[in-house]
């Protein structure tokens, strides 16, 4: 089947066509078995209020109404196809959620679909999230997602010439803030080592490191090196205590 008779205008990709039907069913069942699924979808009038107010719909071939409709129709082929790239257009603003007369949460459904796509190592996740590696490295190792030193002007030429001025004497600027906030340039704040160690335990216990390994093995190795180094530092500190 190429595309869909209404709504989903994209032709079904070769990637999707080449996957055995049973595998596609397994993936969609994994999405539907998430405990949140039943709290995110109730019914649909096809009113389109969600899509009309969706920011991503204005610039991408993306419709939250389509997400809800395909689940209600159990359209495995289209849903599986959406999991390659379609779902990554969503801005996660949840305008659809607050507007829906049925209190459906299409943005929430997308969050589950993305999570399942990463966990099952969809090729599209590897391509789409490649430039996102810096954030993953920072958050997985330090507990902060953003720091002042990540805002190099080279990465943000569209933000204008002021970015270069901002980065000049960055450490001195941060030292001059008269509160203990924003002082560290490598992290948003200095997350204490024992807190980071607790976070690593959370990542291990909840399978997040495994997700990372599937997403980007090289990044995973770099992250694990830092994690293990910090764990050794902590153990040494603990022994000294």
């Amino acid at each position: 089947m190429d595309g869909h008779i209404y709504g989903y205008n994209l032709p079904i990709s070769e990637k999707t066509k080449s996957v055995p039907w049973e595998e596609k069913v397994r993936i969609i069942e994994e999405v539907k078995s998430d405990f949140r699924f039943k709290e995110y979808i109730f019914g649909c009038l096809n009113c389109g209020v969600c899509t009309a107010s969706c920011p991503s719909n204005r610039f991408f071939d993306y419709s939250p109404r389509e997400i809800v409709q395909r689940f209600l129709e159990e359209d495995v082929e289209v849903l599986y196809d959406m999991m390659h790239e379609y779902i990554w257009a969503c801005s996660q603003c949840f305008t659809c959620w607050i507007r829906c007369p049925f209190v459906n949460n299409p943005g929430g459904l997308v969050a589950i679909m993305r999570e399942v796509a990463v966990r099952n190592a969809f090729e599209a996740t590897k391509d789409l999230l490649k430039p996102y590696g810096r954030v993953l490295l920072k958050v997985m190792t330090t507990g902060n997602q953003l720091s002042a030193d990540m805002l190099q002007p080279d990465f943000f030429p569209d933000w204008g010439p002021k970015m270069a001025d901002n980065m000049e004497n960055l450490r001195a600027k941060r030292m001059a803030i008269p509160f203990d906030v924003g002082k560290s340039v490598k992290t948003a704040w200095e997350v204490s080592l024992e807190t980071a160690i607790e976070m690593y335990t959370i990542w291990r216990e909840t399978g997040i490191f495994e997700m990372l390994e599937k997403l980007d093995p090289n990044l995973y190795n770099v992250i694990m090196d830092i994690v293990e180094e910090n764990e050794e530092r902590y153990e040494e500190m603990y022994e000294e205590e």
């Binding site: 993305r114 805002l151 490598k186 204490s192 959370i202």
Partner: protein, 447 residues
């Protein structure tokens, strides 16, 4: 539970009469407060309650529920985006806390919520998000301070995670062994959940009349006047669209039909709140998009918000109350010149604008030098006409610090900081552990 009926001592409260016209909602979010009390009675959870020492202020939510906002003895759960990219944002919060003589704890035993990562990359799951949240909340409870969430996404994610935890035994059962391993349950094995998840903008909302007093006493004495300033409000999606029934609404703000925080404090200060047709739209941040698909972010920000605000209402400033929106609007103006779509307008959060109105230093406290968009016309209009001298003072300070550090003159640097007007020189920490960072040892300055 109907209006005017509540059990003595219950955390679920309503006023005698609905405070503004209410719609019938399908979602029964408020019920989770009764469920929390039931779970506490069964010994599954412990509710971290807001008490008199927190100097609570009552506000209304969209359902007319009374939400209790603690205003004192607060544990600052900081925002990575604010600390990293908008340093004047948390600095303005701390400036107000000190001005009002409030007790608070600003400590390093906290991580980000990690929800930005989840909404951007999908590389996490509800159990991990819940464990991260509950670890942070347990830390706040252990210190005796009540958590105040700086980031809008943390706030939205935490509200949702709390609802999921209360409604789903399977999630509680999954997260409990992890918390036990971390030593993050109570001594009798309960999960600690705060009575209210509270965003800093709710604190500003609750404190708006005190902020007004400070403005009249100290801001106006400096010649500052905001009565002619046209402010356009942008509410953050993750504060009021995520778990929409748990954010302040007020009869004085569009008769309770729009979110009240930020608008109400602008009204209290006497600024001119101007309405515009796309108030409902998001900013275009998109979590992943701002970093890796910026053509969407800037197109949306320019076409749906900046252009509209510029052409429809000629606002002097866009007032925000979250990290991503502030960055998106503020950093995506310059590029518009390339397409003849340059709509200059100052951008800052409610607390930064309020701090300026009350006389805070525009650069030392509010850190406006970091802005890529023009803020100078706004300062002029507010009556902060000496901003050039204040900017030079700031730049000279930065230059002096940089030179001393470059020359390795750490003793002189320490001497300088002894005389520098530090509002809060060092964080207090709540454990006896030596301070060590998760990054390689990187002291602020050697001693």
């Amino acid at each position: 539970m109907a209006h005017g009926h509540h059990k003595e001592g219950s955390i679920l409260m309503y006023p005698e009469k609905p405070p503004f016209p209410l719609k019938e909602y399908h979602a029964h979010y408020d019920h989770i407060f009764e469920m929390m009390e039931e779970l506490e009675a069964k010994g599954e959870i412990l509710i971290h309650r807001i008490t008199e020492e927190h100097q609570p202020v009552h506000v209304y939510t969209r359902t007319g529920r009374i939400k209790v906002i603690p205003t004192n003895k607060l544990w600052h759960h900081k925002s990575c985006g604010q600390c990293g990219n908008i340093p004047g944002y948390p600095a303005s919060v701390f400036w107000f806390m000190n001005k009002f003589g409030l007790d608070y704890l600003n400590e390093p035993h906290q991580t980000s919520c990690t929800a930005w990562n989840y909404h951007g990359s999908g590389t996490s799951n509800p159990v991990a998000l819940a464990a991260v949240w509950l670890r942070n909340m347990h830390q706040a409870w252990k210190t005796g301070y009540y958590p105040l969430i700086h980031c809008g996404t943390s706030f939205g994610s935490y509200k949702e995670t709390r609802e999921q935890l209360i409604m789903n035994k399977e999630l509680r059962d999954a997260v409990k062994p992890i918390l036990k391993k971390l030593g993050r349950l109570t001594e009798d094995g309960r999960i600690v959940i705060p009575q209210e998840v509270v965003h800093y903008s709710e604190w500003v909302h609750a404190m708006r009349y005190k902020i007004k007093e400070l403005y009249e006493k100290e801001g106006k004495a400096k010649g500052i006047d905001v009565s002619n300033v046209r402010v356009a409000i942008h509410n953050a999606c993750h504060t009021y669209k995520m778990i929409a029934d748990d954010y302040p609404y007020d009869p004085e703000v569009f008769n309770g039909q729009r979110p009240a925080a930020s608008t109400a404090v602008m009204q209290a200060l006497g600024a001119q709140v101007v309405d515009y047709s796309t108030w409902y739209d998001c900013c275009g941040f998109g979590f992943r998009h701002i970093l890796t698909e910026r053509e969407f972010t800037r197109s949306f920000a320019i076409q749906r918000k900046l252009k509209v605000i510029y052409e429809e209402v000629k606002a002097d400033v866009i007032i925000t109350h979250d990290t991503g929106c502030t960055t998106t609007f503020e950093k995506n103006q310059w590029i518009g010149k390339a397409h003849g779509m340059f709509y200059p307008v100052a951008v800052m959060s409610d607390v930064m604008f309020a701090a300026l109105a009350c006389g805070a230093h525009p650069f030392k406290v509010v850190q406006l030098y970091w802005n890529c968009s023009a803020y100078e016309p706004l300062l002029e209009k507010m009556g902060i006409t000496n901003w050039r001298e204040l900017k030079k003072e700031w730049e000279d300070t930065v230059k002096y610090i940089a030179e001393l550090e470059k020359a390795g003159k750490y003793d002189e640097l320490m001497e300088f900081f002894k005389t520098y007007d530090l509002y809060e020189p060092y964080s207090r920490t709540s454990t006896g552990m030596p301070k060590a960072s998760a990054t390689a040892a990187m002291p602020l300055f050697k001693s």
